[in-house]
Every structure is written in structure tokens, then in C-alpha cells.
């Protein structure tokens, strides 16, 4: 198997453009939760979300200015790079406008068109694929990129993760009674639902040899990955966490690691009662007796849906470099199951590997294990 390295990582979130504003913001306990101005929220459970400030699209989808921000200053992408996109709803704002009777070109709606435009902006020319696995989309896209390199199918792969805050998705989570009326509080005993967010992540993966040849700094390695389905419910997680446990075990096996090697966990942590309970069940089963540092970014930047795993993986690289896991913003009083794991303060990372997990509709679970890069 060929070693898979990450040579560049960039994010755009409600806390700004770049990994430094994201990391520093969360370390300072900042949150991007604010009243939504993009559409009326009077009939919904919550007025709040984490939007990227200042996004303006004119006639186009907001997806493209978001992509533009993401790629500004991003290192050169090799033309032979495979492109893996992770987006659940793509240009959903165009679909909303079309349905309201506005003049929108329907040819812009299919993901095939989005893929072409993203490839054009990023300068990739090879086959491209959008991965749609609900809120685990970008973690699975990252895993697929790692598969391709590990098997020698390509030497480089670019993973682009993008999703927007839209009334379409906002209304749906509101109808499902899943939105927090105020702001989300991951792993809190009084958590009452999620807060939606938008954002993007770009991760450039290369074989170790290609990275060396191009003299690219290695930010981290994708040591392992896994995915499994609960096979229990369409929109709710398995109470016994069977899918997530299987997923993490696969990732550990792929990495050739035991649980002792994992130094911290970037959890999905949506702050819905059932998701967080399921994750705690999984972590207690996988890491019995350990007070492993665990955090969720959702209280700071919201649930960015298909982009979540990419943003969290990029942040995990920064955390490994800094040796610190940021606080779980929004957490006030930990759920009894989370005591000793989650914290409203930063926690030291004592080791070389971070586990990053996501779960989503359709019973999907996905995980990647990220290792430390060049010093």
C-alpha cells in the first residue's frame, strides 16, 4: 500500500477564510452563530445559522464565490489530480430561485455541471466524482481519495467540500424538530438540537513519493479510513452505535493501529440528543477507561453538512501540529457520558493520531485517522 499524505489544506467557515482564523477562533471560544438574513425564519424553530460573511453571488449560486474564497491562495493543483467533490445539495440556492419563478438556467442544477465548474476552477482535467453520503460525504470523499492513491490509481487527488445554508435544508431540519431554538451545545446534557452552517474545505492528497518529488510539505497522513451503515433507521442513528463502532474498527485496522494510538477525537457532535448519545456510546465502547480528548466544532461553525468532515479533517491537521484540541464551543455542562472526554477548554493532544468521524441520514458512518506530518 502506498502512503497517503496531505500536502495542502484550506477552509472557509463562518469564522473566516483559512485554518488559522478557524483554529484561533475556536480556541478563543468564538461562535459564528447569528440570525439568518438570507431568508425569513419566522415559521421555523430557530432564527440562527452560521453563514459565511459577505458571500455574494449575483445571478450565480453562492457555491461559486465560496469556492473562489476557498481556492484563493491555495497551492497549485497538479493537472493530473483526480477531483473528489463532497456536496449534499450543491447549488441548492439556484433550485430555490427556479422554483420561485426566477430566471435560472436549469442546466446549472445537476452535480455534473458543478463538477465541471469546480474542475475548471481548480485546474484538474481527469475524471471527477461527487460523493453523496449525507453528512459523511466529505469524510467518504477523503477516504476515496486515499483509496485511489493507496492503490496506485493516481498520485494526487484533490478533495473539495462545499455546502450552503439554504431555506431548503433549514426548513427540513426544522420540520424534523432537529434545530436548536438558540445555538447548538454539542455533548451538553441540555443540548436541544443542531445549528446549521455553511463552508468549504480543500485538501490536496499525494503519495509520499509525489510529495517528495514536488517538494511539498506534508501536513499529515491519512493513516486509515472506514465506513459502515447502521442498517436501522433512515434519519436516526443506531442507539447501540453499531455502525460507528464498526467504522472506527475498520479505520484502525486499515491504519494498523490499536485504540491506544489515538490521541484525540474530532467527533461529529451535532448536538441532537440522539446523535451525541450514540457517539458517546461508541467512544466508551471503543476506548474503555480512557479519558480521551474529544471535541465538536459544530457550536462554533454550525453543521456544515457535506462539508463537515473536510473542514474537521483540515482542522485536525492543525490540531496535531499545535498539539492541542480546541474546546467544544457551546458546551456548558457535559452530558454524564461525556464527562472526562469533552470540555469547554482546550485539551492537550499527547500522541500522533487524531480520529475524525461523521454520521448521517441513511445510517451512514465514516471515519478517517489522520497522522502527524512533517515537523
Amino acid at each position: 500500500m502506498i502512503e497517503v499524505c496531505i500536502t495542502a489544506a484550506q477552509t472557509v467557515t463562518g469564522l473566516g477564510t483559512g485554518l488559522d482564523p478557524l483554529f484561533d477562533g475556536i480556541m478563543a471560544g468564538k461562535s459564528a452563530v447569528a440570525p439568518v438574513e438570507r431568508f425569513g425564519t419566522a415559521r421555523y424553530l430557530s432564527p440562527n445559522a452560521c453563514c459565511v460573511p459577505g458571500l455574494a453571488a449575483g445571478e450565480d449560486s453562492l457555491l461559486y464565490p465560496l469556492l473562489e474564497r476557498l481556492m484563493e491562495g491555495f497551492p497549485a493543483v497538479p493537472a493530473d489530480c483526480r477531483l473528489l467533490l463532497a456536496s449534499t445539495k450543491g447549488p441548492v440556492d439556484l433550485m430555490e430561485r427556479l422554483q420561485r419563478g426566477e430566471a435560472v438556467d436549469p442546466a446549472e442544477l445537476p452535480m455534473e455541471r458543478v463538477l465541471s465548474r469546480v474542475a475548471g476552477r481548480c485546474g484538474t482535467t481527469g475524471p471527477a466524482l461527487n460523493v453523496n453520503a449525507a453528512c459523511a460525504s466529505s469524510t467518504l470523499a477523503l477516504a476515496r481519495a486515499a483509496q485511489l492513491i493507496a492503490l496506485g490509481r493516481c498520485e494526487a487527488a484533490l478533495v473539495i467540500c462545499l455546502d450552503l445554508v439554504s431555506e431548503f435544508v433549514f426548513s427540513g431540519f426544522s420540520a424534523l424538530q432537529a434545530l436548536s431554538p438558540t445555538r447548538c451545545r454539542p455533548f451538553d446534557r441540555n443540548r436541544d438540537g443542531l445549528t446549521l452552517g455553511e463552508g468549504g474545505a480543500a485538501l490536496l492528497l499525494m503519495s509520499r513519493e509525489r510529495a517528495r518529488r514536488e517538494e511539498r510539505k506534508v501536513l499529515g497522513v491519512v493513516a486509515g479510513w472506514g465506513a459502515a451503515n447502521d442498517a436501522t433507521h433512515i434519519t436516526a442513528p443506531a442507539r447501540d452505535a453499531c455502525g460507528l463502532i464498526q467504522t472506527v474498527r475498520q479505520a484502525l485496522a486499515r491504519a494498523g493501529l490499536t485504540t491506544d494510538a489515538i490521541a484525540a477525537v474530532s467527533a461529529h457532535g451535532t448536538a441532537t440528543p440522539y446523535n451525541d448519545q450514540m457517539e458517546m456510546t461508541a467512544l466508551r465502547a471503543l476506548f474503555p477507561g480512557r479519558n480521551l480528548p474529544v471535541h465538536s466544532v459544530k457550536g462554533a461553525i454550525g453543521h456544515t453538512l457535506g462539508a463537515a468532515g473536510g473542514i474537521e479533517a483540515a482542522l485536525a491537521l492543525k490540531c496535531l501540529e499545535a498539539g492541542v484540541l480546541p474546546p467544544t464551543v457551546g458546551l456548558i455542562e457535559p452530558d454524564p457520558e461525556g464527562v472526562g472526554l469533552v470540555s469547554d477548554a482546550a485539551q492537550d493532544i499527547r500522541g500522533d493520531f487524531v480520529l475524525s468521524t461523521n454520521s448521517g441520514f441513511g445510517g451512514v458512518n465514516a471515519a478517517v485517522i489522520l497522522g502527524r506530518g512533517d515537523a
Binding site: 419566522a42 415559521r43 421555523y44 449534499t88 445539495k89 441548492v92 433550485m95 430555490e96 427556479l98 422554483q99 420561485r100 436549469p106 442546466a107 442544477l109 445537476p110 452535480m111 455534473e112 463538477l115 465541471s116 474542475a119 475524471p127 471527477a128 466524482l129 461527487n130 460523493v131 453523496n132 453520503a133 449525507a134 460525504s137 467518504l140 476515496r144 483509496q147 492503490l151 490509481r153 431555506e167 431548503f168 433549514f170 426548513s171 427540513g172 431540519f173 426544522s174 420540520a175 424534523l176 465506513a227 459502515a228 451503515n229 447502521d230 442498517a231 433512515i234 434519519t235 453499531c242 455502525g243 464498526q246 475498520q250 486499515r254 441520514f361 441513511g362 445510517g363 451512514v364 465514516a366
Partner: protein
């Protein structure tokens, strides 16, 4: 990398079918059949009637593929994966759902429809129906009409991530705003790929050095060509 092709199932304009029944023509420019539960499952199924048309289509094709491979019935969950290629995914459901959002300022948005506004939604139903606990995901491709999903499935088998992976395509006819923009034959078809030959194995699927797909040594350029090569020899 190669895998055994152990089952084929489809729902297209020519109707519902399985590889073992044979067929001269599978994908055609004909309307898809309106699927009822009894067309797919002999036993009552509480969820089927509430699914979106896209989800019914995908679930039905998966059911026929697993039935063809004699893998439909199960007593313990199985680590089988599914990779579903799709051009438009659940766009038709999205448009239906969005109509409910436009009413009463979103106050009447349908939670049941919303649950089907993801391209991978039918895979969750398939996981429950058939006890599938592998990696189940949908992919949109820029090239090669379903073969991207297939190559991904072959890689999963090569990495021994699952012993069985189903790969295929699932698309309704383009909904109204796209009817004049996108042209393809609607339908769903899935292949059951395994690391060992099944009872009614159709031969092997392999990936050439250039990434192209071959079925029993014959190069194919689309899922339709592949199925025709496997079923008709």
C-alpha cells in the same frame, strides 16, 4: 483487479428484470413503470409506499440484483457495500419538497419528503431491508455512465473492505425544468460483485491498466453495454 459478477437486477423503461431471466434490451427511451410494492416484494412492506419515486426505483433494482444472486434473504446483517452512480440523484424529490416549503412560509414543509432529499437516501432503506452494513454511498460522475461507481466498487473489493459490493446506476427521467436539457435513458440497474463466484456467476469484471472496464475480457463503455455483454454473452 477483477471481481466475480454474481447478480444483475434492473428497473428500466422495458420493465423489471434480472440477469437470469435474460433480455435483449434493457435500457430504452421509454417511461419507467410505476412501481407498487407487489412488483418488488411478495411480503407487505411498511416503508415502500412512503418512499419517493427515486428511492423506490433504486431499492427495487437492488432487490432484483440481490435476488438474482440469491442473496436477498438474510438472518444476520452483512458487510456488503453499495456504490450508486446517478446523474440527477433526487432532484425530482427536491423539487417536490421545495414546493411544500413555498407554502405558508415554510411552515408546511414535509419532514417525510425532506428525508428523501439526498441522493443516497434509498441506500438507507436498502440497508434496513437487506441488512447491509458496508459503505453505502451515491456518486455523481462526469464520465462513463455508471462506470465510475463500478471502479470504486472494484477498489473496495481490492482493498478487502467488503466481500460483496453492489454497483450500479439510478436515475428517474429528468424532471420538468431539465427535460429539454438532459437526455439519457432513465432507470436503475445494479450488479452484485463478489470476491468469490456465486451460484449463477456471469463471469468476471476487471479494470484494465488504463482504468477501463472489461466484462469477460470485452471492453465496455457504459453500464448498459456491460449488462448486455454479461447477459447475452
Amino acid at each position: 483487479m477483477s471481481a466475480y459478477l454474481n447478480g444483475i437486477g434492473w428497473v428500466t423503461g422495458t420493465g423489471c428484470g434480472m440477469g437470469s431471466q435474460g433480455s435483449e434490451l434493457i435500457f430504452a427511451d421509454l417511461p419507467l413503470p410505476a412501481l407498487a410494492r407487489r412488483d418488488v416484494f411478495a411480503e407487505p412492506n411498511q416503508r415502500f409506499g412512503r418512499m419517493s419515486d427515486y428511492a423506490k426505483l433504486g431499492l427495487a433494482a437492488l432487490a432484483f440484483a440481490l435476488r438474482d444472486a440469491e442473496l436477498e434473504s438474510w438472518s444476520e446483517k452483512r458487510p456488503f457495500g453499495v456504490v450508486a452512480g446517478t446523474r440527477l440523484g433526487c432532484l425530482a424529490t427536491d423539487l417536490d419538497y421545495q414546493r411544500t416549503v413555498l407554502l405558508e412560509g415554510g411552515g408546511l414543509a414535509s419532514p417525510n419528503l425532506f428525508a428523501y432529499t439526498l441522493a443516497n437516501c434509498f441506500l438507507g432503506d436498502a440497508a434496513i431491508q437487506f441488512g447491509l452494513t458496508g459503505s453505502l454511498l451515491a456518486v455523481n460522475e462526469t464520465q462513463s455512465a455508471g462506470l465510475g461507481a463500478l471502479t470504486m466498487a472494484l477498489d473496495q473489493l481490492a482493498l478487502k473492505e467488503e466481500p460483496v459490493v453492489l454497483a450500479g446506476v439510478c436515475d428517474l427521467a429528468p424532471p420538468e425544468p431539465l427535460a429539454d436539457v438532459k437526455h439519457f435513458f432513465p432507470g436503475a440497474a445494479f450488479l452484485v460483485l463478489g470476491d468469490a463466484p456465486g451460484e449463477h456467476c456471469y463471469g468476471s469484471i476487471s479494470m484494465a491498466a488504463d482504468g477501463g472496464i472489461e466484462c469477460n475480457g470485452v471492453r465496455v463503455e457504459s453500464m448498459a453495454e456491460l449488462i448486455a455483454a454479461a447477459v447475452n454473452g
